[in-house]
Amino acid sequence: MMEFQATKMLHTTQGHQLLDINFQLQKGSILALYGPSGAGKTTILRILAGLTDVTTGYVRIGEEVWLDTARHIDLPTRHRSIGFVFQDFALFPHLTVRQQLEFALPKKADQMIITELLTMMELEELQHRKPALLSGGQQQRVALARAIARRPQLLLLDEPLSALDDEMRYKLQDFILKAHRSYGLTTILVSHYLPEIFRLSDDVIILEKGSIQRQGAAASIFLEEKISSKFKATGEIIDITPADIVCIISILSGNSIVKVVATATEAASLHIGQKVMVASKAFNPIILPIK
């Protein structure tokens, strides 16, 4: 079990606001932090990593207290068992892929995990290359492997997939899930991208202006109504074309486009760019807006 409590004044482009957050997280689960920019998502990750100071705060992982301002405890970053994947990956330009992982490995640790991670992330062929010679997706895999190499208790991902195209995103979500399960990690992920949250997270926290608006499983907090369906997929409306008495709605889900027929009345409540869920019961697919 992980416990997090923090207050801190945030200085954002929208002005000053108080970050006041309190949540708990089960060991082994994946939590997604969702919300507009400036809501404090990255700050939470940075507080967990000990990279940002707080006014008051308490962080406990299992039996270990990392931060307790009341008792003047503030464990330095290097003593916290974390893996941090930065938004722009922060790979070391002078080291090859393998050397990045070797650097991350604590002294006397088993070197086997390096080969294991290189295989898992499909990086064996690239292991002697430096970051400048890698694509965005490859760099992301190196950053993920490097963060996991020291077998952290907590994996922190700061919008790790934001710079990638849809196909690459989907593949990398697989890598994250695989690594999370193989190494028994507890993961916190900052994301703006709903399909990613639906696919990866056990739990979601929606942040707004420095405080928690809602918390729960993705399906229960993003959808207006609960449905019992055979199939569900989230996506974005990219086209609405009237055809006789019906409309054809094109929805981009992952890297495929789904075309769904809707009545003119249904189509009137939808617009291009809207995030929706497509659910199929026994017969027709239905489109539900996401809050």
Partner: protein, 225 residues
């Protein structure tokens, strides 16, 4: 015939000064780049002072400070039996102070040009500040290291005012090449002065050429990995 002693002395002074400045400058520039105290702007100002101060002003105050008749010089003389006025040691101390900004400024610019999350990434991987400095930060700023080392070396070779004030012109001890040129001109030995001047010119040109070649190669390897 050319007397090589002043040239050798200049070279020795520049090498010793450069080495001390590297050892002193790296931790100091690193502290300036990553620490947050407000008074650090004061430290930066003091370090940069020799860049704008006339060398004779700096030399004059160092002469007063190092004089065995005054505070610091008296203490050093009495307790450690070290005399800094008119000695090679004194020249080294003065050169370190005089050339400090030429080492610190390139290093500081180097640290500040590195992405901040490089430093943070190393900390999240469990590494100490020391490991981060030597294994992550410095290897990614070779051009700044070379520039700092070469500038402080060349600046020490070329210094004159400070050396004259606190070293005078004692052959084999403080009579470095720049002072030797001045002495020879004073004695109207122009051919002799010209020989020293030519050697210094050739040395300075070669050093700068090497730096530009190294930087050029480094930048090229960075742009075409």
């Amino acid at each position: 015939m050319i007397d090589w002693v002043p040239l050798w002395l200049s070279l020795r002074l520049a090498l010793v000064t450069m080495t001390i400045l590297l050892l002193l400058g790296i931790p100091l520039a690193w502290w300036l780049a990553y620490s947050r105290p407000r008074w650090k702007v004061m430290v930066e100002t003091i370090i940069s002072l020799p860049m704008v101060l006339p060398p004779s002003v700096l030399g004059f105050y160092l002469l007063l400070a190092f004089s065995p008749a005054n505070g610091l010089g008296k203490l050093l003389d009495h307790w450690l039996d070290i005399r800094l006025v008119f000695t090679f040691h004194g020249l080294v101390v003065a050169s370190v102070i005089y050339s400090l900004p030429f080492m610190i400024n390139p290093l500081l610019a180097g640290f500040r040009s590195l992405p901040p999350d490089l430093h943070e990434a190393s900390r999240t991987l469990g590494k100490s500040d020391w490991t981060t400095l030597f294994r992550v930060l410095l290897p990614n700023m070779p051009a700044s290291l070379i520039t700092g080392a070469v500038l402080s070396f060349a600046h020490t070779i070329g210094e004159f005012g400070v050396v004259m004030m606190i070293g005078g012109s004692i052959p084999g001890e403080t009579r470095v090449a720049s002072v030797a040129i001045y002495d020879e001109v004073q004695s109207t030995h122009y051919p002799q002065a010209n020989r020293y001047a030519l050697v210094l010119l050739a040395l300075s040109f070669t050093i700068l050429l090497l730096v530009h070649l190294v930087n050029h190669r480094y930048n090229k390897s960075k742009s075409t990995p």
